[in-house]
């Protein structure tokens, strides 16, 4: 919402300056986004008088002027034909920035004579198109004074950002009312504006909507003998100052009242309307060419203003081109209506039209300000366009939009935290137009028609606090609930946090990527999650079902920047469907390029599936999952390398997947290094018991463990995990650890076989083991390995 200071002063009698008013507006919730003075650029220009003008010695068209600037006598070379002795004009000293060129004026020699300043044309000051001569001011113009001040050009423009609850402040008068309520001046009364009609309107009006709420009230008036030329300068200036283009008097008047009084109106060229207007639902498929030059297809949910043949306006949104007023309009029909906010909003959205009218109707215009608004428009039309006006024609009745509430005397204190005397409460509410009566225990407050947002007691409290200023409310710290706070985080949040820390501790960087991804990529990763109707771009059009694609894309982007070795993880949501239970939480990570960089002390190594497995297990351990019971087996989703990937199971539940990324997917993503990744499905984790802080008792055997190595030959496809479990199982009591320390395939090992060497840590309990006992245990280990994994001792 834009308006100027002088416009505001039409409604508000005040001595306050623009800055002060702007500060106050922001303080009462009418946030000033900008305050600018278009005349600020003219500040350095001053009124000056040409004391003498003589011909330039070396140029016929130029004159040498002696100019009195009030503080000095200056020599100026001037080419304007009207430069003459005694002329009062506008002087710019050297260094002044000329608005038209944006350049600073220099002292210059013109044909051998120095010019110490310039007398300006209207065009140079961007005050008009005239460049034939310099500006001529009246004889009484005060030499030496600021030109802008003399001309009254200084009219600051406010732009405020309005919240949707304040339709009244989409009119300058509403803003003036709020300012007057906070003591920034007096709201000027509107003059009487009832106009008695000179004849009976030849046009009738009617309400023909199925739903009476669509347009419950319609007022009209017929005009004859109009001249619809350009509007007068004051009106044009008002509109130009806020960036609107003057069109013609009739159009400008309606636009003016839209801004001035938050009251959109429409004027039809009566010659193009047949017999009268009615509000009715649009016909299915009905079309209208709107004033913006675009054609719109309508439907019965949209209300139109029509004659008995065709629609002439989209109710509350935009007039029709066909019946718009033009320079030849001599007879016109004024329409002033109340349109339902919700329907207006819906129609506007459907048609994708934003207009000043829609903005106001969809927030709610004041239904009590219809006859008066018609009167204001009538007076302006008759003043500016001449002619005569008919009697008003009226259909329907104003709807009741404003409510009332009882305000408890104590409520400002109990809800707002500020004690306000009842008398002051009453005064403030009355200042914004409420009708207030004393009532037992407080006040009965009836809200004005221009405040459809006010509904109840809380609104009264808000208005009082707003006008008092929130600064007046004393801050109070929250009372404590208990001596020691409980852990504020949910178990799931604590798990996520623990997993993140574990992965960061393993050298991975936490990323936050979009919850969306391209559908084209989703196809490679098990299909699309829910699809967005209005994605921000076509490559962010579906919700992700897995974290890996975005992380892999991130790795590819980093490689593109010259950083191919990436270790990234993310903890975040995945979306399998719309229902809450179909939205899950995952922790996933990707390592691309080298896991160990080139270094003099050790060999470089590409990231592989065992990095991913270690990452996954570290995260599981961090969240308290029983990692010892988690088993890996083949069966990861298709975006992993089929032979170098696996899933992690705990009992029957699949907790996650890990592995090297499928080479075809890497190619598709333009990743030229190996890459591996893992993803853990946190929703599949068993709900972990809160075990408390106490640990189980520590086991510290007195005897030293004995370490024995075994080398087995076993089928190539047999699982090392099975071997390890079998060895471990040979004696739950004595075997404290089993670790594979060598894996070999190739020369010396038969085709189809591999050699696995394990270190077994044997922990004697109570007494040392004899050689015989050790021997017996070794036999059990070998037998178990053979049974479980087809392994034979090498």
């Amino acid at each position: 919402m834009k308006f100027t200071l002088s416009w505001l002063k039409d409604h508000l009698e005040t001595d306050a300056g623009a800055e002060e008013l702007a500060g106050k507006m922001t303080a009462i919730g009418l946030e000033v986004e900008s305050l600018s003075d278009p005349a600020a650029a003219l500040a350095p220009f001053i009124v000056a008088r040409i004391e003498s003008a003589e011909k330039h010695p070396h140029a016929d068209r130029l004159k040498l002027c002696k100019v009195d600037t009030g503080s000095a006598m200056v020599a100026v070379v001037c080419g304007a034909p009207n430069a003459r002795t005694g002329l009062k004009g506008v002087f710019a000293a050297p260094g002044t920035v000329i608005p038209a060129s944006g350049a600073a004026l220099k002292i210059s020699g013109i044909r051998g004579v120095e010019s110490r300043g310039m007398l300006c044309s209207a065009r140079e000051l961007q005050l008009g198109e005239d460049h034939e001569g310099i500006i001529e001011l009246p004889d009484d113009a005060p030499v030496g004074q600021s030109f802008a001040a003399y001309r009254g050009l200084s009219d600051p423009v406010f732009e405020i950002r309005l919240t949707p609850n304040r339709p009244d402040c989409f009119g300058v008068r509403g803003i003036a009312r709020d300012l007057a309520a906070v003591g920034m001046g007096r709201l000027k009364p509107r003059g009487a504006n009832a106009v008695t009609g000179a004849f009976k309107s030849p046009f009738g009006i009617a309400l023909a909507t199925d739903d009476k709420t669509a347009c419950p009230y319609l007022v009209g008036r017929y005009f004859k003998g109009l001249r619809n030329g350009p509007s007068p300068e004051w009106l044009q200036n008002r509109l130009k100052a806020i960036g609107q283009k003057p069109i013609s008097a009739l159009v400008d008047i309606t636009n003016y009242l839209t801004i001035d009084a938050a009251r959109p109106l429409h004027v039809f060229d009566a010659a193009k309307v047949k017999g009268g207007i009615r509000a009715r639902p649009a016909e299915p498929g009905e079309k209208i060419l709107a004033l913006n030059g675009k054609e719109y297809a309508l439907d019965p949910d949209i209300t139109v203003i029509a004659d008995h043949e065709t629609a002439h306006a989209i109710a509350g949104i935009m007039g029709g081109m066909e019946s718009g007023c033009t320079g030849t309009t001599t007879e016109a029909f004024l329409e002033c209506a109340y349109f339902d906010p919700v329907r207006t909003a819906r129609s506007g959205r459907r048609l994708q039209i934003t207009s000043d009218a829609r903005t106001r109707f969809e927030r709610g215009v004041d239904p009590g300000f219809m006859l008066e608004a018609a009167g204001l428009a009538t007076k302006l039309i008759l003043d500016i366009c001449g002619g005569v006006a008919s009697e008003l024609v009226v259909a329907g009745a104003p709807p009741k939009v404003s409510g009332a509430a009882h305000l408890r005397a104590s409520r400002c204190k109990t809800l707002g935290g500020l004690d306000v005397p009842v008398l002051e409460q009453k005064k403030l509410l009355e200042a914004i137009g409420c009708t207030v009566k004393d009532a037992p225990g407080g006040l009965d407050v009836a809200f004005p028609g221009w405040r459809p947002d006010m509904e109840g007691e809380a609104d009264c409290v808000e208005e009082i606090l707003r006008l008092k200023g929130y600064d007046a409310i004393p801050p109070v710290s929250m009372p404590r609930l208990q001596v020691f706070a409980e852990n504020p985080f949910l178990p799931a949040q604590r798990r996520a946090e623990a997993a993140k820390r574990a992965l960061a501790a393993r050298g991975m960087l936490e990323a936050v990527t979009w919850s969306f991804m391209p559908a084209s990529l989703a196809a490679l990763f098990g299909g699309e999650g829910p699809r967005l109707q209005n994605p921000i771009s076509s490559d962010l059009d579906v919700m992700r079902k897995t974290l890996l694609p975005n992380l892999l894309q991130a790795a590819a982007r980093n490689a593109g920047r010259g950083y191919p070795d990436a270790a990234l993880f993310e903890a975040g949501a995945v979306y399998h469907g719309l229902a809450p239970e179909d939205q899950g939480f995952c922790v996933g990570g990707v390592r691309a390029g080298l896991a160990r960089p080139r270094h003099w002390a050790e060999k470089a190594r590409a990231a592989d599936l065992f990095d991913a497995k270690a990452d996954a297990r570290a995260a599981l351990a961090a969240v308290g999952a029983p990692v010892a019971g988690v088993q890996a087996s083949p069966g990861a989703p298709g975006w992993f390398h089929p032979g170098r990937s696996g899933v992690l199971r705990l009992g029957g539940a699949v907790l996650g997947a890990f592995g090297e990324i499928h080479p075809a997917i890497l190619r598709q993503l333009d990743i030229r290094t190996p890459a591996c990744g893992f993803e853990l499905f946190f929703d599949a984790l068993p709900s972990l018991k809160e075990t408390g802080a106490a640990r189980p008792p520590v086991d510290l055997p007195e005897l030293q463990p004995v370490v024995r190595d075994f080398a087995f030959r076993m089928p190539r496809d047999a699982a090392a995990g099975a071997l390890v479990r079998a060895v471990q199982g040979a004696s739950r009591e004595l075997i404290a650890g089993v670790e594979v320390f060598d894996l070999y395939e190739g020369e010396g090992v038969p085709e189809g076989s591999k050699s696995l060497a394990v270190e077994v840590r044997i922990q004697p309990r109570g007494k040392s083991l004899t050689e015989g006992e050790l021997e017996a245990l070794s036999e059990k280990i070998i037998a178990a390995a053979s049974r479980a994994a087809g392994a034979t001792l090498r």
């Binding site: 959205r349 979009w514 829910p530 209005n534 809450p580």
Partner: protein, 369 residues
């Protein structure tokens, strides 16, 4: 009778002559080994008369002890010499880089959410979560934003296509600011535009008194230099019988001062409008822009940081809380914005680019407290 002193000097000479451990061992074996000279003498003891045997045996043992001492001393000397030689040889170039450690980092969003939650936890708030895809009723209607409410235009909403329900889509129009909710879908789904639905769920589930904090991802159909289609919020909600706007001011002042570690930080509450609060306010904090940068706390400028207000009676009612008895406040703040202000991160969009250099630079060590 062998001359023990000759034997001693003979053996001692061999020991002293040894320059390495191998030679020393040869000397030791020659003297004390199974077939050594001293051992050989011990074997002759059996043939001596009782008195002589004892005396001679004692002397041999003394000799043996003396030689063992000499050997030990010689071994120590040789080892010391060997060590000196080894140390003189062993040299590392200490300027070489050590084996690289991978240092990971947590994202500033993780860090900032934790900071915010921990501060509010001290005021008795507990954290809650909810789904990102919400039905329209929880994201809007319950919050006093029925369909067609003009306030819905304040938040550019992402709508989801009904999964297999044949809902009429919106075609390929992207990024439009004024989308129409699909009226024909009985339950339109949206990406939550704020974390407020989490609070709605909390109120529907638990009875007051409530102090709830809802951190998480939110989505707005908006993308430019200062807007991302996804960002993070922390919203707070208090519902009880007595909490008023003074508490709201106190809570936010306490929080902001602690978060920015600025005990004298100024706050300004300006009237504003949100459909779910009444009265509503926007909160500015003091800052200084005088040197072209932005410093929190000092100076005369203001910076908007969050929106808040007293929960609208209709919202309480919609959530099954009796507005005649209960009241409270709600606030919402942008996590990225608070992170940017505190940690000097200049650009919102960079949060989501997963640039390794950025993550290393702005990320936090797991050891950071």
């Amino acid at each position: 009778m062998t001359d023990l002193s000759t034997l001693k000097s003979e053996c001692a000479g061999a020991i002293e002559a040894a320059t390495d451990l191998a030679a020393l061992e040869v000397a030791r074996v020659a003297a004390l080994g199974k077939k050594g000279k001293v051992t050989g003498l011990l074997k002759t003891l059996g043939g001596l008369p009782e008195g002589e045997r004892r005396e001679f045996g004692a002397r041999i043992n003394t000799l043996k002890d003396e030689l063992e001492e000499l050997i030990a001393a010689r071994r120590a000397a040789i080892e010391a010499k060997d060590l000196d030689a080894r140390l003189a040889f062993e040299r590392a170039d200490v300027t070489l880089s050590p084996r690289p450690e991978q240092t990971g980092a947590l994202h500033p969003i993780t860090r900032t959410i934790a900071e915010i939650c921990n501060l509010f936890a001290q005021m008795g708030f507990k954290v809650a979560e909810g789904p990102h895809i919400e039905d329209d009723a929880l994201n809007f209607t319950a919050l006093n934003m029925p369909p067609d409410h003009p306030a819905r235009q304040m938040q550019d909403t992402f709508y989801l296509e009904g999964m297999g329900s044949g809902v009429e889509g919106m075609g390929s129009e992207t990024g439009q600011s004024d989308p129409e909710p699909p009226a024909q879908n009985p339950k339109p789904y949206v990406l939550r535009t704020h974390t407020s639905p989490v609070q709605v769920r909390a109120m529907l589930k638990e009875k007051p008194p409530l102090r709830v904090l809802a951190p998480g991802r939110v989505f707005r159909c908006d993308s430019d230099q200062t807007h991302a289609p996804m960002f993070h919020q922390v919203e707070g909600l208090v519902v009880d019988e007595a909490t008023h706007m003074g508490h709201l001011k106190g809570t936010l002042a306490d929080f902001m001062r602690a978060y920015f570690n600025a005990p004298n930080l100024k706050l300004r509450f300006r009237p504003s409008y949100f459909p779910f609060t009444e009265p509503s306010a926007e909160v500015d904090i003091g800052c200084d822009r005088s040197d072209g940068g932005l410093k929190i706390c000092e100076g005369e400028d203001w910076l908007e940081v969050l929106g808040c207000g007293m929960v609208h009676p209709k919202v309480l009612q919609n959530c099954g809380v009796d507005p005649a008895r209960y009241q409270g406040y709600a606030f919402g703040m942008g996590v990225e914005r608070l992170a940017m202000l505190k940690y000097g991160i200049p650009d919102l969009r960079t949060f989501f680019e997963a640039d390794l250099r950025w993550l290393r630079h702005y990320g936090f060590s797991v050891l950071d407290q």
